[in-house]
Subunit: 347 residues, 2 copies
């Protein structure tokens, strides 16, 4: 077997570390931690949040070093910091680099809290792959998404993910680097669809947490997930994505995992709102904005701008931002006149 | 509002009673209990398994009476007793009756434990709607399926179901009878697809219970459900159903509810097998055959007869009937060479 070049992972959070450990089963990995003291601590303890790093993972604190050592790069950085990171990284990136990001969020060029839906320009809302193309000389871009709770990956449970890219080569390189007996990798050519799947599922997860907070069970949740998927497809389609992405591992698969895992931040937001807490109090408590609340704001701007129909998104917005009582929201949704099953397949 | 004719429900089990209560919000209901003593007890206590019957539900112990009073009929009888019931009912049924069954199982004309896959005739495996058409003079047949745990319906939680029929009229009549502010009804023209969705999901639920029994979490379960759905579509397609049914409320919706509800018998079978118990012991304990074990046997005969590929079904069969260790089964499945995401949409 030919020795493989080391692979770079940018971002030593829990998901970044989980990806690093998976990659380390097939080759050496350089894991980027920006803060030099934090990097030293990881080097000494070989642990991130109680989980042991694979022996083939080395911690790096220089983006220049990673760019020169690796040609396959996995940035795993929250969407709010992504642009900053990619601008710092850009001087060292070459057209022969392959970059597969794993960030489930959107970037907005404008202030989402001040924006007026009528006057926004959709081009100023960008996926992470669009940001990479805009800010670097890299051409071969991909994204990684799927039902991949970091904790379970660290525990070596079996799982699967999707790598999406317009380039077969990116999918093939990502698969070769990541695939193992406990981690399946599927390929999808519709990168926009896969990115939007990962983003849009967040507001459905808020709704799922809310249903649970109300004491509702499997029937209501299964209905929410099924119709939530349909709505994600409508919004995705309006933005140019194909429905297929939403019906695979990173679409319905990730949606199921997120909507049934009480561990997720988005689920927690919905749950506590349903229990009568105020959004501001919940967010203050959680310490950082749940990605779903941001998604919901951006999604509402998009849907209103397009004049599209997205009853679930619009109703959850009313609950979170306009203090609608949840039972009123559910009554409205239950009366919504849809009657053809799986009609979203026809679009 | 014109007074509606009473609707008949055949079978006073927990799901039959839940359907009766839903129907009673829109019209009078006759609920059939075959055993006269049991019928009298329900008449006195107005309860079935601790749940109160709606005041508009009357208990009937004569099929002839129900057939003469109602023109819309909902049989909700386990698949093993369905043929017996429909033969008893048949003399009283007229071509103007509409029958919408809610039984998630298959009927076999041969002994499934003795059958040889090569020599079976697929025509001798029948869905409940095929049995109704074969044994009665009824033409307008439909089926009802969806994520509809009886307990949650009895608790008046919001939910949705699908009515499938080749006849728009059957869907419209079923909707008018069932729909309410807490119960949505979707329509689907592919009755075979909807029946098979309800049947095939059972073996995926066994697998889901097994994953949980092994201590695995959301990632593995989401992968199972997504790939299980794909496999159900392949099998359904081979039997003449359309993929669309599997992607709606009664398909993926019901699959999600069944695979995430530890209350289901099928889930319990998988869970206990994973904990090291023998199938025979588990089934003896449960007191009646879990529908999924029967489905798995019939499904394996179908798949082997067609020479089709259904790795999940075949692997679970090996665990349940050939004592394969589960970790061997999971290793095999994780190595199964599928790499295109949502590829099942292309068939």
């Amino acid at each position: 077997m030919i020795a493989r070049r080391p692979v770079g992972v940018i971002g030593a959070g829990s998901f970044g570390s989980a990806i690093a450990n998976l990659l380390a089963e097939n080759q050496d990995v350089l894991l980027y931690e920006r803060n030099k003291d934090a990097a030293d601590l990881i080097r000494i303890h070989r642990k991130i949040r109680n989980f042991e790093l694979h022996e083939r993972v080395s911690v790096a604190d220089s983006l220049e070093h990673i760019a020169s050592e690796c040609y396959l790069l996995f940035p795993v950085v929250p969407s709010a910091f992504f642009k900053h990171m990619i601008i710092d990284f850009s001087p060292y990136l070459r057209p022969d680099h392959i970059m597969i990001h794993a960030t489930k969020g959107l970037h907005c060029e404008f202030d989402i809290d001040q924006a007026d839906a009528k006057n926004i320009r959709l081009k100023e809302i960008k996926t992470m792959s669009e940001l990479i193309l805009q800010e670097t000389g890299i051409v071969r871009v991909g994204c990684l998404a799927g039902p991949n709770l970091a904790l379970e990956i660290m525990e070596k449970q079996p799982a699967a993910t999707v790598i999406a890219s317009r380039f077969d080569e990116v999918i093939a390189e990502g698969m070769a680097a990541l695939r193992s007996d406990r981690f399946q990798v599927y390929g999808n050519k519709d990168i926009l669809g896969i990115e939007l799947s990962g983003v849009l599922k967040n507001y459905v997860a808020i709704a799922s947490g809310a249903l649970n907070g109300l004491g509702y069970g499997e029937n209501a949740r299964a209905l929410l997930i099924t119709r939530g998927m349909a709505e994600m497809i409508y919004i995705g389609k309006a933005l140019g994505a194909d429905k297929k992405a939403f019906l695979g591992i990173a679409g319905i698969g990730d949606l199921i995992a997120t909507c049934t895992s009480p561990k997720s931040r988005n689920y927690t937001v919905g749950y506590r709102i349903a229990k009568g807490e105020k959004l501001d109090d919940v967010l203050r408590d959680l310490g950082e904005v749940a990605e779903g609340v941001r998604t919901l704001k951006i999604g509402k701007l998009i849907v209103d701008h397009l004049g599209a129909s997205a009853p679930l998104l619009q109703t959850i917005s009313k609950v979170l931002f306009e203090d609608w009582p949840i039972d009123r929201a559910i009554k409205l949704l239950m009366r919504y006149p849809v009657s053809a099953d799986a009609e979203y397949l026809d679009i």
